[in-house]
Structure formats: structure tokens, C-alpha cells
């Protein structure tokens, strides 16, 4: 890796005169590459007009997407060499590639693939995946279930629909069940034990106010700590009367972390057009989808669609090429095959690189 190029990635922010524990600032000035949880972080410090300036951090990008034909059917069986991923027009080199819940493969320079050794361990924290789980297989599914007063009447039916969904998940997938009203409740942490997930769901307690976007944010923060592909499925009636964060700020977090948000709203689309619009926007901008399913049958159907989506997704990871843009970086996925010109790709539109030290 060409270290000198990294210096162009960041501009001084002049904020911090920092002393690392046991490290002199000048020592910190050297580039550090930290490999952690499947991604890595570049740290830089530089002396600038008497101020030590730290710059950060470009993680591995995990990009999940679906390819649909003109009729809206999933297109399967594409290979890494069939795609071209660019960021702000800069071509990216895929590091891994996976289809559906199959384990990812390493993408070589020539576009060929080979299996990758799995030595990663899961990270800790409340949202952490069980350490026994292979983080690269399947999808890490976080279900966020609205147990506020707004869901009071449909509470048990919703619980039935989610139970069916959990049962139907691919064996490789992991599931976490969170519930929310005014606060978040991590009912079941991420694991592959369906029985445990259902038992946790079946013990959900009805709450009071609804702080959907606060709790969605916390769920995304947990999901972001998990290695591998992940999605958040929100099951809600729509209203939010207690959140302090705006839907679009939460959406930005999901975009940046590469976590598609699926929303199943138990409200009718025309009953609450503002909520519906927000749901569409946050799901669309993150590569997910929203469903408006008032009846139990429609809810089951929506879950079925999500399951299909997960099973027919492609996942590409890459380490972004040097890019001076510190703001929103637009991602484009092109299908290089002749038929591909008729295909439509559903993916998040881009992300903002994280800043840190």
C-alpha cells in the first residue's frame, strides 16, 4: 500500500493536541494501520503550525445490492468480473464477493475468486454477535419491533408475523430481536438460535411512547459493530412522539455504515403520508425497501419479500481508493455484461467517510 498517497486523504482540522498512551505525538505521526473486525483504520497525525492534527479513517466498505431485470425479477449468478464499482467515478477494487447467504470469496486482481480463511472474531458490546458465529456467512438481521402504545392493538399479530419470519430465515443468517417504545430493549442479542429469538420475541412487553428514530439509531450503532453483512428490519406502526433525532440523520448513519433498512409499516400508506414518505426515503437511500402491510397476511408477505431480498443479494467489499472528498461519496455499480444494460441495481447511493483520530 502506498502510504504517501494517504496524506492526501485528509486535511488538517486543527482540533487536537493529543498524547497517546505511551506514544509520543511524533510517534503517532507515523501511519498506523489497524486491522480490526474485518475492516481497517488509518491513523495519521501531522505537525502543522504547532498543532498536532489527526486525520482519520477510511474503513472497508461493505456494499450490498440486488440486481433486477426489466420485470423486477432478481438476477442471480453474476460474477465479480460482471460488475464495476466506482466511488465518485473512481474505480474500486473488490476485496470479497458473496451472493445470497453463501460465504464470501476473495476477489483476485484478475477478477477470479478463491475461498478466504476465516479467522476473524466478533467484536464485543451489547450488539455483538455470538463469538461462535462465522461473521462472513449469511446476514446479520436486526429486527426492531415497535411495542409502543401505537402498536397495542396489532401487537400479537405482529409478533406472529415476526415469528414466522424468524423461522424462515436461512440457516446461515443470525438474528437479533430488539423492541422499543420510549427506550430500546435488546430482547435477544445476535445469534443463530431461532428458538431463543422467538422466545425473546414472545416475551416482549408493551410500552408507552414511541421513540422510533432514537431506537433505530441505537440499533444501527449496534449493527455497525458487527462484522459482515447486516440489515435492520423495522416493524412499526409509524408514529414517533418521543425521538430527539431526525429520520434523515438516522438515515445518514445507515448509509455511512452500509446497513440497509427495511420497514414494515402496519399503517396504511395514505393514512399517514409523512411517515410513509420517511419510511420510503430511509429504506430507499440505504438499499432497503418499505412495505405497508396493515393485515397480518400482508405482513407475512412483506417478510417473505425481505427474505427473498436477502437471499438474492450480492455483497461486495472493498477498500476505497484515495479520494479527497470528505463529504458524500457517490457509489455507482455498473453491470458490465451485455444483458446487464437492461438490469436495474438497487443499492445505497453512497456514504460519508468517518472521521476520528
Amino acid at each position: 500500500m502506498d502510504v504517501s498517497k494517504l496524506r492526501n486523504l485528509a486535511q488538517p482540522i486543527g482540533l487536537l493536541r493529543a498524547i497517546g498512551r505511551g506514544a509520543h505525538p511524533l510517534t503517532m505521526a507515523a501511519l498506523a494501520v489497524i486491522v480490526a473486525g474485518g475492516g481497517f483504520t488509518w491513523l495519521r497525525a501531522q505537525q502543522d503550525q504547532g498543532t498536532t492534527t489527526f486525520r482519520v479513517k477510511v474503513d472497508m466498505v461493505v456494499l450490498g445490492f440486488q440486481v433486477l431485470d426489466a420485470r423486477g425479477h432478481y438476477v442471480n449468478g453474476l460474477k465479480p468480473k460482471d460488475f464495476r464499482v466506482t466511488e465518485d467515478g473512481i474505480p474500486q477494487k473488490p476485496a470479497t464477493f458473496a451472493e445470497g447467504s453463501r460465504p464470501p470469496v476473495q476477489v483476485l486482481e484478475n477478477g477470479e475468486t478463491r475461498p478466504i480463511p476465516r479467522t476473524e472474531t466478533a467484536s464485543g458490546g451489547p450488539g455483538a454477535v455470538d463469538a461462535k458465529i462465522d461473521p462472513f456467512s449469511g446476514t446479520n438481521v436486526f429486527v426492531l419491533f415497535d411495542t409502543s402504545n401505537y402498536m397495542y392493538r396489532g401487537f400479537v399479530y405482529a409478533s406472529d408475523a415476526i415469528t414466522d419470519f424468524i423461522r424462515g430465515l436461512d440457516r446461515a443468517d443470525s438474528i437479533a430481536v430488539y423492541t422499543y417504545s420510549r427506550n430500546l430493549n435488546r430482547a435477544v442479542l445476535l445469534n443463530r438460535d431461532r428458538g431463543e429469538a422467538i422466545a425473546g420475541l414472545r416475551k416482549a412487553v408493551a410500552g408507552d411512547d414511541s421513540a422510533l428514530y432514537n431506537c433505530l439509531l441505537l440499533t444501527l450503532r449496534d449493527a455497525a459493530k458487527v462484522t459482515g453483512r447486516k440489515v435492520v428490519i423495522v416493524f412499526s406502526n409509524g408514529p414517533d412522539n418521543a425521538s430527539m433525532v431526525a429520520p434523515d440523520d438516522v438515515r445518514a448513519v445507515a448509509e455511512d455504515e452500509g446497513i440497509p433498512i427495511y420497514v414494515i409499516s402496519t399503517n396504511e400508506v395514505n393514512k399517514d403520508p409523512v411517515s410513509s414518505g420517511i419510511f420510503r426515503r430511509i429504506s430507499g437511500a440505504t438499499g432497503g425497501k418499505s412495505y405497508f402491510a396493515k393485515t397480518w397476511q400482508k405482513q407475512v408477505e412483506a417478510f417473505e419479500n425481505i427474505r427473498e431480498d436477502l437471499g438474492n443479494s450480492y455483497t461486495v467489499t472493498y477498500y476505497p481508493q484515495p479520494n479527497p472528498n470528505e463529504g458524500f461519496r457517490k457509489i455507482t455499480i455498473e453491470i458490465l455484461t451485455e444483458e446487464g444494460k437492461k438490469y436495474r441495481v438497487r443499492a445505497r447511493p453512497g456514504y460519508r467517510p468517518q472521521r476520528g483520530f
Partner: protein, 1121 residues
């Protein structure tokens, strides 16, 4: 030698310490404290331990043995008792030998090791120990509880009734009663009748379902489903509200058929999933299902009799008759002798009439030997109640019945005061006692203060608590009598009480003013003078010289518009009157800036600078002698500045003034220097993260422009020289800012219409977005860059304050990049907000821009905490973490910050708690000490709680007794001069040593400032302090906020915990925020007055932290302090 580093396991005295809960807590803690750091601390302690062990092993010196014993004792490591005995065996100094043996005895008593205790007591006495003369009496059968049953398992009932299963069994019905009273019934419109709420309807439905299940369980108390296709399957599913989809076998899925019943099934936690799995496997399903026996005060029949029912089911009657619940609450708060006398005096049906008064104001009732123990003169109380306290029960019955509860509320407010305080002595003067009561009750006494769901005597409690007595023995009247006379007569705002207005002209003494204030306590409106009095009293409280009448007059007349700013003066007692006047002049002066945006920039900048000035004074960075001068100089330029460049210069001058006054580091950028003086030098990648690192991270997340960039751009452009680097920096920051704005561009028109962004906030942000840097550079000679930079400088200054007070986690500040910029200093034309209290606006989805703050920065710490509180995630489902308490607990962390605490000060606090604990242990084995300790405890705990402690001590269960005592109470016991006569122990010996060498740094004022908590409601100031008040109940208008302000235990507990774990004093500001967050997330309370839940959560968190450090699987010790 390899040491196994484990802590002493002690038996838990709480039933709630389940492994499930603890594992969840550990996970939560792992997120914040960092296991690696805990290991570091453990390793440090282990190394010290090894060294001391080796020294003790290789030497027979008493010093070596003493050092090891003290170390084990301090860090709660196993073997301390043996170490004390080894020390005693080699100690030649008789006094020290006695001390070592005494510690061994205390250890035995704490651990309930009876045989060891006998042996060690003999050795102690043989060494000359003269206390511990007799074991406490054996427990008598004193229980006043019998048993009743509730249908089904307790866990399900507790879920449905929203009860914390962690509560002591005796408290379950108490908690249920409180829930039924506060949440069970609601008024029907235009009708006085009450109807059950949804909460109660569901609970009653659940009781029905549980009975059906009990029937299925039969006499064997077991629900059995032999197989999937058996007849019982359908029967059970019908009760549960489910049916099977698919045929028996792996296809079986349970789905809802009766949503009402199914809701109860899920909400009550029925093991539906297990049933489903057994059906799918065609396995036998068995579930023990029996009614649960729970303690009921007295007998079930007593309560049924209270509502005239000879027979019937107790729980049904309890749920359907809120009056029984109220009586239950009232009688449960009394100690045994008092309750027995009351029940003898009046039948349950009669007592029920005054149950609401007894519930709210009965907890301080105390009958001994038939007589009421009243504060002050019995005769005075006799004349008020119309019955002599010599017949306690008759007296209290009259007290309850008089004036619809006003007399009882008066009695309660006075009985809660420290009997030795000058205020109490003043109020208890017999004539005064009567005079003030007559003023309080007025002519129309209904509705009484106990009629609403919350006590409405809030102001009475605040007045009696906040009243100060001057050395002359007279109450302190801010300014002079004339000020208050004028206020009542001329009342510049609104209408005051007409009778008091007329009487004011004849006031001659402070008592006259007080009489009027007591009269105002009865009112819920038109009582502004009382609020003004309390605020000014607090402003005056710590001033070296009382405020002048002129200043008092000005503060009183400006109260309505500027009260939120008075916390500045209350927190900075060294400000001169000239400086205070200058600050008050700001409002009219800044109103002279006609452009709203410029005015907001000026208001925001000066308030932020004053906010930072307060922080630096609080932290001791600005010397007392410099405070007034700096404050005054800070304000001067703002009083004159009208144009944006002038305001920019004023703000910049303010920054430099703060640097000079705080002796900020000379080198480095302004931004770095500011971060360093406010939060300390950032330490990168520390675990837990250093406050400085958090500060920088949050500041950056808000897309704020560093001070230096702003100053450089303003300087260079002003001189037309240009500074490409600074401009490039600014451009880069603006690009990130613009990027945030693009998020909003996708809003639909409907959303834009609903967008709750404040009008002036939006204008402010728009103004910044429109900055054309290129044009500014090209026309540098024509346009003043300082004006263009002013809005950014305001945001940076306001942002520094926001970031300083950012609550642990800071999700809003890290997620909403415009949160600081959104602060609305303008408000509306009809309601200007610039100098009003800080308010929270725009929560909930219609505010698509997220919540924001408006008003002045006066209440910023509390409001930021209020905004952030819902991001905390309770470790237990259904946990009640109430909205007025949590922000205060967060403020207890974000304001004090523990900068400049010395190791000696932290150790001193830990030792005071340890001394308190040792006194409680000694009380268990020495009746003479017990009497002293309980008397001291009685200054903080009501008689019933003192009785509980006594019961547990008598039973020899010290840990259980400790579970009833707050850490703040242990701290007070440890420092109580009346208990200094008790024989010394290791802690008291070290306290004496520290006091001899520590000087003023260990005096009450210093310790109070460093380990106390801010009390913005009780003291009108964010200056931390320890007031050592009784824990307040919930009060109308404040809910549990004042309860939270009187809760002073957390920081004291954390100090002792840090001392035990080896956390350096210098790192408290890194650890305590995470501990506080965990403590809040562990609260599992039932109702708003459930303060024992706070104590439990504190102990649970402490145990989890210890466990995390030691790696031990099961540790629970609440008796460590």
C-alpha cells in the same frame, strides 16, 4: 508467588442479583468502561498485593502485617480477618493490637461468622477492648405481616402490574397500591366518578386468565399437555388466545385467534415459545402453575373490613377499591408501635377517611410509650390539633383530620428538618409555629394538599428547607424588609394576593414577611413572591456580604424575565454587585441590537462565554480573587458592541480573557488550549476514552469551526493579505456543513410544512450557508470578515458549552450535526427567549429536523440531559426509569467532573463511608452503639426505616441492615460528631490522620463541592454541594426532580468504589460517567417514589464492576462501604 486475584464473596442481601441481569449489566459495562482497562487496574492491585504478601511472609514486623491487613481490607480481598489476627499476634503496641482485633471482630460480624466472632471477641476483650459488651437481643417475632395469595406466578403478576420483582416481598403490595392509586383510575369527563384505566383493566383481565390456568393446573398445581393431539391442548390454547396452524409435528405454528387473551399471554410472559416447541416435537408440556403467597400487612380480613366486606377475595378488593390501597400505603409507612396505636385508636373504616393524608404526610409520625414524639413544644401542637400529644394516637388522628390535611402537611414539613438546625429552632418557637400555620391554612382549607395524586404542598417543603436563619436568630430576608413590602404592594407583574398586599404596608419584622410566604404556600398560582424569595435567598446564601436592598429590588422586579440567569449569581458568590448589575444590564443593552440574527449572535456568544467562565470557576481554574474582575471585563465589550465586527471582537476578547484568567497553557492553538482548560488534555485511544478525546470527537461531529480558523480568517481577510491555509480549512468545514444540509433537501413538501425547525434557527443556518468565501476574499477591503465570521464564532462558543455538558453517550450531538446551530436564542415576538430558561422543543417525528433547544443557556446541563435520557437502554425490560430523575442523575456527572480531586480527598470520602459501615456493624454487636447509630440515622431516615434497620441488626444480619441505608447516610454516620465517642476503628484512625495533615482540603466545604451534586431547583445553582437532606418524596410540579436532587449517594458511592478498585482520583472523570450510565440503566423501579430501586441499581452496578475487574463469576457484596 502467583496470586489468585479474587474478591471476598459475601452473601447477597438482595434477591434481584440474578445471573441474567448481571450478565446483561456486564455487557453494558463492557461497552463503556473497557475490559482492558479494568484488567490493568486489577493487575496493578495484584502487583501491590503480591508485594505486601511477600513482605508480610518474610517479616514478622507488625508494620508489614498491618500494611497487608489494611490493604486487603481496603480492597475487599479475601483473608483480611486472618491478616488482622496475624497483625494482632505480632503487635506490641496494646492500642494497635486492640485495633487489629477489633477489625477482626467487625469482619466476623459482617460475615455472620458466629463461632469466629465469639473467639475474636474473647481475644479482643483480653487485649483490653471494652466495647462490644453484649450481643444485641435476639430477634423477636415482630412481623406484622400475614400471607395472602395472588393467582399465578409472581413474575407474571409483576409484569402485568408493572412491579419490580426486585422489591422485597413485603413491599410488593405496597408497590401495587401505589400503582393502583396513581395509574389505576381516571376521572370521567364531567363526572366525579372514576373509571379504571387500561392498565388496571389489563391487570384485572390477567387475574381472570391466571385463575383459568390455575383451574387447568388443578390440585397438582401443574398444567400438563401430554401430547400435541391431546384434548388438553385445545383447552389450554383457548385460554391463551391461540390456535394451532398446521397439523401436529414440525409444521405446528401457534397463531393468534383471540387477540385480547393472546396479549395477556405474551405480556404476562407465559412460556408460549416452550409450549410451541413441545407441540412441534410432540413432547409432553409441563408447567408448574400455582397461586403465589405474598405478605400482606396485618391480615387480608383487616383490609376487607375497611370496605365493609366480610368475605371475598383480597386481591380483587384491593384492585377495585383505591381507598384500601391508600390506607395500605399510609399504614405501611408507620413503624410498628405507631401503627398499632393508630389501629387501636380508630377502626380501619374510620382511618380510611384520612388515608390520603396518612399516605402523604404520615411517615414522620412516631408514638413512643403512648405519646407522640413531636418536634418542638407539645403544647403548641396541642393547641393546633386540639388534642394532646401525650395521647399519641388521638393526637395524630386529630392531626390527620384537621383542615383537610393542611396541619398534617405542616407537621410533616417541620418534622423532616434536622432537629438541631437553627431553622428548626426558629420555626418551632411556639407562637411562631401557630402563627405560620394559621397563615398557611387560610380561611378556605379545601382542597387539601393530599387530594391530588401528587402532594401539592411543594412550596411549603421548599420554604422550610430553604429558609436561612441569620446569626441574629431572625430569618434572612434578602435586601431588607422594604424590598418585600414594595414587591407585595406594587407587584410589578400580575396580581398578588389582595389580603397580603393590604397587610404588607404594616410589616415591621422578618416574621411578617415569613407569615406572608407561608400564606402563599397554599396557592398554586399567584405565589410568585415566594419563588422570588427562595431564588434570592439562594443568591445571597454564600455571598460574603448580604446583597444590598437595591440589588434585591432589581432582582425581584426582574424575576419574571430573567430568573433563569440567577443561577449564575447563586453559583458565583464572589461576584460584586456592580458585576451582577452589569450582567443584568446586558438584556436591555442587547435589545438595542435591532437585527435579530446579530442579537442572537451576541446573546449566544456572551452566554456561552459566561457559561465557560462558570465552569472554570467551578473547577478552580480561575482564582477567587480574579473572578469578579474577569467576569466584569468579559461583559464590558458586549454592553457596547452593536455591529457584527464589534460583537466578534467582544467574543474574541472574552476567549482571551478566559485564557488569561484560567492560566491556560501558553502554547498551542486557541482551540486546543480551550479544550485543555475545559476538559483536560485529550488522551488518544485511552480506555475508557478520556474526556478530552470525547470532547474533540463531539465538537467535530457538530461540524463546528475551530476558534483558530475563525480568528485567522478574520485577521487575514481584514488585512487583505489572505491566508490560504485558513481559508482552505474553512472551506473544507463548510463543505461538510453543506453536506449535512443536503440531507434535508429530500424532504417532501408535507414534511417541510411540518418541519419544526425554529424560524430563527433556520435563518441563522441559512445565513451561514450563504457565506460566499470567494466573494469575501475578493472584496476583503470592502467587507469586514469579522462580521461574516460572527455566526460561526457564536456556534463554536455555544458548541464548546454543549460539548462540555454532553451526557455520556452523546447520541444527539454525535448524530444531529446541526444540533448546536439549531439553538434558538430569539423565540417569537410575543415570547422572546434570549434570557428565559432553556427549553426542549421539537421531539417526535413531525420535527423532521430533530429536537432542538431554545432559550438562554442557563439550564443547558439539565436540558441536554433531558434530551439524551431516552437513549439509555434499560437492562431489564419493562424497567421504569422516570423522566424527571434521570436527567438529574446525568447532571450529577456532567457538571462536577472531578477535576483537581486529590487522592487524599477521594480516600477521605471512602473512609467516611467505611467508618459509617463499621459503625453499623458495631451496632449489631453492641446495644449502646446501636442506640447511638440509630439516633443518628433517624436524622435522615423516617421512623419506619430506622425500625427496619434495627430489626435486621437485632437479627445479626448486617448486610440486610446495610441494604436499608443509603451511601450518603453512611457518609453522614461516618462523620457524625456524636458518634466520635464510639471506639476507633481502622477507618476512623486513618480519617484522624488525614484530617491532621490534610488541612482545609478535607473540610466539609471542599468535600461538599467536590463530591456533591448540583441542585438547580433546590438551590437555584449548578454549584455541586452536599445538603444532607432527607430524601424528598415526589411533589406536584416537580414529580421526582427534587427527589433526585436530594439523592446524594451516587458520587459518594463511586468515590468509595474507585478507592476500592484502585482507580486513581485523576481518572474519576473517565470512569464515573460510564458507571453512572450503567447505574441508570440498571434502575428497575415500580413507581416514582421507589428510591430503594435507585439504591439497588447502585449496588448492582457496583457488584458488576467489581466482578468485571476481578473476573469472578458471582460476586455480590453490598456491605463494602
Amino acid at each position: 508467588m502467583r496470586l489468585t486475584y479474587r474478591r471476598t464473596p459475601r452473601s447477597t442481601c438482595f434477591s434481584f442479583a440474578t445471573s441474567v441481569a448481571t450478565s446483561g449489566i456486564l455487557l453494558a459495562l463492557g461497552l463503556f468502561t473497557g475490559a482492558a482497562r479494568a484488567d490493568d487496574l486489577g493487575a496493578d492491585l495484584a502487583a501491590q498485593h503480591a508485594q505486601l504478601e511477600e513482605r508480610a511472609h518474610n517479616s514478622d514486623s507488625a508494620e508489614a502485617q498491618a500494611a497487608l491487613a489494611a490493604f486487603l481490607d481496603r480492597h475487599r480481598l479475601p483473608g483480611s480477618r486472618d491478616a488482622f489476627l496475624r497483625w494482632a499476634s505480632v503487635e506490641r503496641d496494646p492500642a494497635r493490637k486492640q485495633l487489629a482485633l477489633r477489625q477482626a471482630v467487625l469482619e466476623d460480624a459482617l460475615d455472620r461468622k458466629t463461632e469466629q466472632l465469639d473467639d475474636d471477641l474473647k481475644a479482643y476483650r483480653a487485649a483490653g477492648g471494652s466495647d462490644f459488651t453484649g450481643r444485641a437481643r435476639r430477634p423477636e417475632d415482630v412481623s406484622v405481616y400475614s400471607a395472602t395469595t395472588i393467582p399465578g406466578p409472581l413474575s407474571s403478576f409483576a409484569r402485568m402490574a408493572a412491579l419490580s420483582p426486585d422489591s422485597a416481598p413485603e413491599d410488593l403490595l405496597l408497590a401495587l397500591a401505589r400503582n393502583v392509586v396513581t395509574n389505576g383510575y381516571q376521572a370521567v369527563a364531567a363526572n366525579e366518578a372514576l373509571e379504571p384505566t387500561e392498565y388496571l383493566k389489563l391487570l384485572i383481565r390477567y387475574v381472570g386468565q391466571a385463575r383459568e390456568l390455575e383451574q387447568m393446573a388443578g390440585t397438582a398445581h401443574k398444567i400438563v399437555i401430554p401430547s400435541c393431539d391431546s384434548g388438553e391442548t385445545g383447552e389450554l390454547l383457548k385460554v391463551l388466545g391461540y390456535r394451532m396452524r398446521g397439523s401436529c409435528g414440525t409444521d405446528v405454528v401457534l397463531e393468534t385467534v383471540n387477540p385480547t387473551k393472546a396479549f395477556l399471554t405474551v405480556d404476562s410472559g407465559f412460556p408460549l415459545s416452550q409450549l410451541e416447541q413441545d407441540l412441534r416435537a410432540n413432547r409432553r408440556f409441563e408447567l408448574p402453575y400455582a397461586p403465589t403467597s405474598i405478605p400482606v400487612l396485618y391480615t387480608a380480613d383487616y383490609w376487607l373490613g375497611a370496605v365493609g366486606r366480610d368475605k371475598g377475595n383480597f386481591i380483587d378488593a384491593f384492585l377495585s377499591e383505591p381507598s384500601i390501597c391508600r390506607l395500605y400505603l399510609g399504614l405501611a409507612k408507620l413503624d410498628r408501635p405507631t401503627a398499632a396505636a393508630m389501629r387501636k385508636q380508630a377502626t380501619a373504616q374510620k382511618l380510611k377517611i384520612y388515608a390520603h393524608v396518612l399516605d402523604f404526610y404520615g411517615s414522620m409520625f412516631e408514638i413512643r410509650n403512648g405519646a407522640a414524639v413531636v418536634p418542638g413544644s407539645p403544647k403548641a401542637w396541642e393547641s393546633l390539633a386540639g388534642a394532646s400529644p401525650s395521647n399519641g394516637a388521638a393526637f395524630y388522628e386529630k392531626l390527620l383530620a384537621t383542615d383537610d390535611g393542611w396541619l398534617a402537611s405542616y407537621y410533616d414539613a417541620i418534622a423532616r428538618l434536622n432537629p438541631n438546625s437553627p431553622t428548626t429552632r426558629y420555626l418551632l418557637e411556639p407562637e411562631r409555629l401557630k402563627r405560620f400555620y394559621y397563615a398557611l391554612k387560610g380561611k378556605v382549607t379545601t382542597p387539601g394538599p393530599a387530594r391530588p395524586v401528587f402532594r401539592s404542598s411543594t412550596d411549603l417543603m421548599l420554604l422550610t428547607t430553604g429558609l436561612r436563619i441569620d446569626p441574629s436568630g431572625q430569618p434572612h430576608i434578602p435586601g431588607n424588609l422594604e424590598v418585600w413590602r414594595t414587591l407585595f404592594i406594587k407587584h410589578p407583574h400580575g396580581k398578588y394576593d389582595g389580603k397580603l398586599t393590604r397587610a404588607a404596608s404594616s410589616w415591621r419584622t422578618p416574621d411578617d414577611v415569613l407569615e406572608a410566604l407561608f400564606a402563599l404556600c397554599r396557592k398554586v398560582v399567584e405565589n410568585e413572591p415566594l419563588k422570588i424569595f427562595l431564588a434570592l435567598n439562594d443568591v445571597d446564601r454564600r455571598r460574603p456580604n448580604p446583597m444590598s436592598p437595591a440589588l434585591a429590588q432589581r432582582l425581584a422586579s426582574g424575576y419574571r424575565s430573567g430568573a433563569s440567569q440567577y443561577q449564575i449569581f447563586a453559583g458565583l458568590p464572589l461576584l460584586s454587585e456592580e458585576s451582577i448589575d452589569k450582567y443584568l444590564d446586558l438584556e436591555p443593552a442587547l435589545n438595542g441590537i435591532h437585527d435579530n440574527l446579530n442579537r442572537a449572535d451576541s446573546v449566544g456568544s456572551v452566554q456561552a462565554l459566561v457559561g465557560m467562565f462558570q465552569i472554570l470557576c467551578r473547577q478552580g481554574a480561575i482564582a477567587p480573587s480574579d473572578q469578579d474582575r474577569t467576569f466584569s471585563a468579559l461583559l464590558d465589550p458586549f454592553l457596547k458592541a452593536r455591529q457584527p465586527p464589534e460583537i466578534f471582537d467582544a467574543a474574541r476578547a472574552g476567549v482571551n480573557l478566559l485564557f488569561t484568567a484560567a492560566h491556560a497553557p501558553g502554547a498551542g492553538s486557541s482551540q486546543d488550549r480551550m479544550v485543555e482548560v475545559l476538559a483536560g488534555l485529550p488522551v488518544v485511544n485511552a480506555t475508557p476514552p478520556s474526556p478530552g478525546e470525547n470532547f474533540v470527537r463531539i465538537f467535530d461531529a457538530q461540524r463546528l469551526i475551530p476558534l483558530d480558523t475563525l480568528f485567522a480568517v478574520a485577521d487575514r481577510l481584514g488585512k487583505s493579505t489572505g491566508d490560504t491555509k485558513a481559508i482552505a480549512n474553512l472551506n473544507s468545514q463548510l463543505a461538510r456543513f453543506e453536506d449535512v444540509q443536503s440531507l434535508r433537501s429530500s424532504l417532501s413538501s408535507a414534511e417541510k410544512n411540518l418541519l419544526a425547525l425554529g424560524y430563527w434557527s433556520e435563518r441563522h443556518i441559512e445565513q451561514e450557508r450563504k457565506l460566499n468565501l470567494d466573494s469575501l476574499v475578493k472584496n476583503a477591503d470592502k467587507k469586514d470578515a469579522r462580521g461574516a465570521m460572527l455566526p460561526f464564532l457564536r456556534d463554536t462558543l455555544v458548541g464548546l458549552l454543549y460539548v462540555y455538558y454532553a451526557p455520556p453517550g452523546a447520541q444527539i450531538l454525535l448524530t444531529n450535526p446541526l444540533f448546536v446551530r439549531n439553538h434558538d436564542f430569539i423565540g417569537t415576538q410575543s415570547l422572546p427567549m434570549a434570557w428565559h430558561a432553556t427549553e426542549l422543543a421539537g421531539s417526535g417525528w413531525p420535527a423532521s429536523a430533530g429536537g432542538r433547544l431554545m432559550g438562554s443557556l442557563g439550564g443547558l446541563p439539565y436540558i441536554l440531559a433531558e434530551a439524551e435520557q431516552n437513549f439509555l437502554t434499560p437492562t431489564r425490560e419493562q424497567a421504569l426509569i422516570w423522566g424527571d430523575l434521570v436527567p438529574q442523575m446525568i447532571v450529577n456527572v456532567t457538571v462536577p467532573r472531578w477535576r483537581n480531586i486529590t487522592p487524599e480527598q477521594m480516600r477521605y470520602v471512602a473512609l467516611q463511608l467505611r467508618r459509617g459501615r463499621d459503625l453499623v456493624v458495631a451496632a449489631a454487636i453492641d446495644p449502646a452503639v446501636e442506640d447511638q447509630v440509630l439516633a443518628s440515622l433517624g436524622h435522615f431516615a423516617p421512623p419506619a426505616r430506622v425500625e427496619h434497620v434495627a430489626d435486621k441488626l437485632a437479627a445479626g444480619d448486617v448486610l440486610a441492615a446495610m441494604s436499608e441505608i443509603l451511601p450518603s447516610e453512611l457518609f453522614e454516620l461516618g462523620g457524625d460528631p456524636a458518634l466520635r465517642t464510639v471506639a476507633p476503628d481502622l477507618a476512623s484512625a486513618e480519617i484522624a490522620q488525614l484530617e491532621a495533615t490534610g488541612g482545609a482540603s478535607l473540610d466539609r466545604a471542599h468535600i461538599s463541592l467536590l463530591f456533591g451534586t448540583p441542585k438547580p431547583t433546590l438551590t437555584h445553582s449548578f454549584q455541586p454541594e452536599l445538603l444532607s437532606l432527607r430524601t424528598f418524596p415526589t411533589l406536584m410540579g416537580y414529580s421526582s426532580r427534587i427527589l433526585a436532587e436530594t439523592w446524594e449517594s451516587n458520587n459518594l458511592y463511586y468515590a468509595a468504589l474507585a478507592d476500592e478498585l484502585g482507580v486513581p482520583a485523576s481518572q474519576l472523570d473517565s470512569y464515573v460517567p460510564a458507571w453512572t450510565r450503567a447505574t441508570i440503566e440498571n434502575i428497575f423501579a415500580t413507581h416514582l417514589e421507589d428510591w430503594p430501586a435507585l439504591l439497588r441499581s447502585l449496588h448492582t452496578t457496583g457488584d458488576a464492576i467489581r466482578q468485571q475487574q476481578s473476573g469472578q463469576r458471582a460476586v455480590s457484596n453490598t456491605g463494602s462501604f
